[in-house]
Amino acid sequence: MIKKRFLSFLIVLSISLCLTSFGNEPQVIAIRAGKIWTVTDGVITDGIIIVDNGKIRAVGQEVDVPEGVNILDMSDKNIIPGIIDGHCHIGLSLDIFSEMDETVAAIAADMLILDAFNPHSKDVKKALSSGVTTVMLAPGYRNPVGGQPAVVKLDTSKANDWVLKRSAGVEFSLMNQALMFDREPTSRAGLIELVKEQLNEAKVYQEGFNPRLEVLNRVVDANLPAYIWAHTVDEIASAMAIIDQYNLNAVLVAAGQGDEIADMIAKRDLPVIYPPLLLSSKDKDLKRVGKMAGSGVKLAFASLAPRTDLNDLRTSAILAVKYGLDKEAALKGLTINAAEILGVADRLGSISEGKDADLVILNGDPLQPASSIEMVIINGNIVYQRLEE
């Protein structure tokens, strides 16, 4: 009697174990690649990456491949870390045209951008096919004191933890686009006054029930990062004045014309999330990125999709190289720099031991326009594979 029950128990257990083991992906994969661009440790030719449970267990030329492990043969391919989009607004249009800007209230500090994100949107698939594995989802530039951006991985199909940061900071906009004729502020002076007023209130805020001031209070303490949209020289100068006055831990967003005062930006160690470089941009604007980087400013690329209709961040990096940025800096701009700025460099941004296995496989040099993306891996899972033509 007991034996029979025990036997059925064993059978059930083993079946469930088998099922769970089938449900799980192969625990360990080895990827053999022609060129591995680690970003932080140089380029490895004919190397191997061992992926274990979604993390990079080892990477190098002389790496032992464990017995019985699946080998992905990419010996004629290039592998780079998953591209990180410094700032975009994808998946934010569900019912209305776009939810990236809050156009009724000028102050939206307590709003979470994640609340408006649609993980199944087509934008996400498009991003993946462009090699983008992680993005900072952010509010647009129309709010002087905007919402809280988030950092998410684009593998939203699995139940694992794709939200890396639910609230990554508070977004501010000092750009002229934050001025509207039918909603305050209508003038630049009014804009600066509004931002300062909010920060002043936040500074003296005590414990209470005001979520807006609560989050702003944490920004003033140089705790939570402030992402500040500022494009032209005067906007950037206003941003720097506010950063100095309130001692903010800040990042400049879309500071495309900052090259003219790049030394001031570098002196403050202000990182910059750079606006996309487009084929339609003017020559003189494309030259700016080289000057910026040359002054020592840390740059990460952003697509600002879908506003600029560019889901291909790689093009920004390629154009930047053409106009004066050196290749190493360009690749860093797509990967480790963004990871460091967004505060997720412990997990992302390079192909290094211990980091997440987010990889992009190309059939050629990543900074050559002719190269295409063949496969994208997130947490060790293949999330995109190019169909053979």
Binding site: F181, R188, L191, I192, E193, E197, V233, D234, I236
Partner: protein, 402 residues
């Protein structure tokens, strides 16, 4: 070993003592120098060091290593000072969400890349006063700037230079929009009449006065108004018509305010009162015909000799471009003021030292004197001749246009 120490010390001493002599000096030689502060100098020299005037006069020795700018027979004047609300800012000058915005600082909206700045410097203007717009009753704090620099902070020479108040019909135009609150209504109306404008002004100063004994004042708006009541911040009242000017004088009496008038188109009708109270005036856009401007149905009268009549009874008159630096240059304004009856010397002062004094920056600009900023305009002939052109403009000792 010792010899090296001696040599090193010697070299150090040499650099310490000789180096100052290597400071950059520029000398400007000109056939005629109009200092404005004193008598004109014939065949004089201006020595410039570190952006300031180190010496000025005749028979001055020019150091050997100095850069010499020989202006030949040209006439040299201090750089012009435009005290009348100009626009090198981006976006709207007006904050539409409230009619009373004393804390609005137009210096936050400065744009050094503005085309206006680049053009105005070519007409010889080296100092400008920029005021918030004219659509609010109390529109905010203006700033005195120089047309130079990469970032706004480098342009400013006096921030929070004056509070701009508008008492003519300009604030009645358009609708207000909600401020710090969600929109609950279609209409947020602006004051529709002069009474309402003056009421808003009085109320603001009244509230500020109530807070006079509190220190510090918590409401930032009232804090600024309180500083105005204490004469710590000057107040510029924009008024065109005589009835509005008179109303402003009443408010000034009630609150003990020291006024400065901007625009003042009908100033000639109240010239004596302005002279009596020692109220300075910055004249703005010049109108040839009486009547309305744009949509404001005012019954405005004109007198072409407004500047002359005011100056004659002793009012301090500054001539400004009136916010349109592109179409009217300040030197032409002075030339026409003289044509219509203003005294020559008064007219030249009206675009240099008088606006500098009104703006409170006269210790730096407005005349060519030792110690002042080296802001210099070189003209091809008499300044009040319409065929004279600006040949060169020097700002803070550097040539910025030629």
């Amino acid at each position: 070993m010792r010899i090296y120490v001696i040599l090193l010390t010697f070299l150090l001493l040499v650099t310490v003592f000789i180096a100052p002599g290597w400071a950059e000096v520029t000398a400007v030689k000109a056939g005629r120098i109009l200092t404005i502060s004193g008598e004109p100098i014939t065949d004089g020299v201006i020595l410039i060091e570190d952006g300031k005037i180190a010496d000025i006069g005749t028979g001055i020795e020019i150091p050997e290593n100095a850069t010499v700018i020989d202006a030949g027979k040209s006439v040299v004047m201090p750089g012009f000072v435009d005290a009348s609300a100009v626009q090198p800012v981006r976006g709207d000058l007006n904050e539409q969400s409230s009619e009373i915005t004393p804390t609005l600082r137009i210096s936050d909206a400065l744009d050094p890349q503005s085309k206006v700045i680049k053009r105005v410097v070519q007409t010889g203007v080296t100092t400008l006063f920029i005021s918030p717009g004219r659509q609010n009753v109390i529109s905010g704090l203006g700033v005195v700037v120089k047309p130079t620099g990469n970032i706004p902070q480098q342009m400013i020479i006096k921030d929070e230079a004056a509070l701009t108040v508008v008492m003519d019909m300009d604030p009645t135009q358009g609708n207000r929009i909600p401020r710090r609150e969600p929109a609950v209504n279609f209409y947020y109306r602006r004051p529709g009449t002069r009474m309402a404008i003056i009421w808003m002004l009085r109320k603001s100063f009244f509230d500020a006065q109530q807070q006079a004994d509190t220190e510090p004042i918590s409401d930032p708006n009232l804090a600024i108004l309180s500083e105005v009541l204490k004469d710590e911040i000057p107040i510029h009242v924009n008024a065109r018509r005589a009835i509005v000017i008179r109303a402003a004088l009443k408010v000034a009496d009630e609150y003990g305010l020291k006024l400065i008038f901007q625009e003042c188109t009908e100033g000639y009708r109240v010239a004596e009162q302005l002279a009596e109270r020692k109220i300075p005036v910055v004249l703005g856009p010049f109108y040839y015909y009486p009547g309305s401007i744009g949509q404001y149905r005012e019954g405005r009268q004109v007198n072409w000799n407004n500047a002359g009549i005011l100056a004659e009874v002793g009012v301090k008159v500054a001539l400004g471009s009136g916010g349109q630096p592109d179409t009217i240059d300040i030197l032409t304004a002075a030339t026409f003021a003289v044509r219509h009856g203003m005294d020559r010397d008064e007219a030249l002062k009206a675009i240099t030292i008088t606006p500098a004094e009104i703006l409170g920056v006269a210790e730096r600009v407005g005349s060519l004197e030792k110690g002042k900023d080296a802001d210099i305009v070189v003209l091809s002939g008499d300044p009040l001749d319409v065929t004279t052109r600006v040949e060169k403009v020097i700002l803070n000792g550097k040539t910025v246009y030629q």
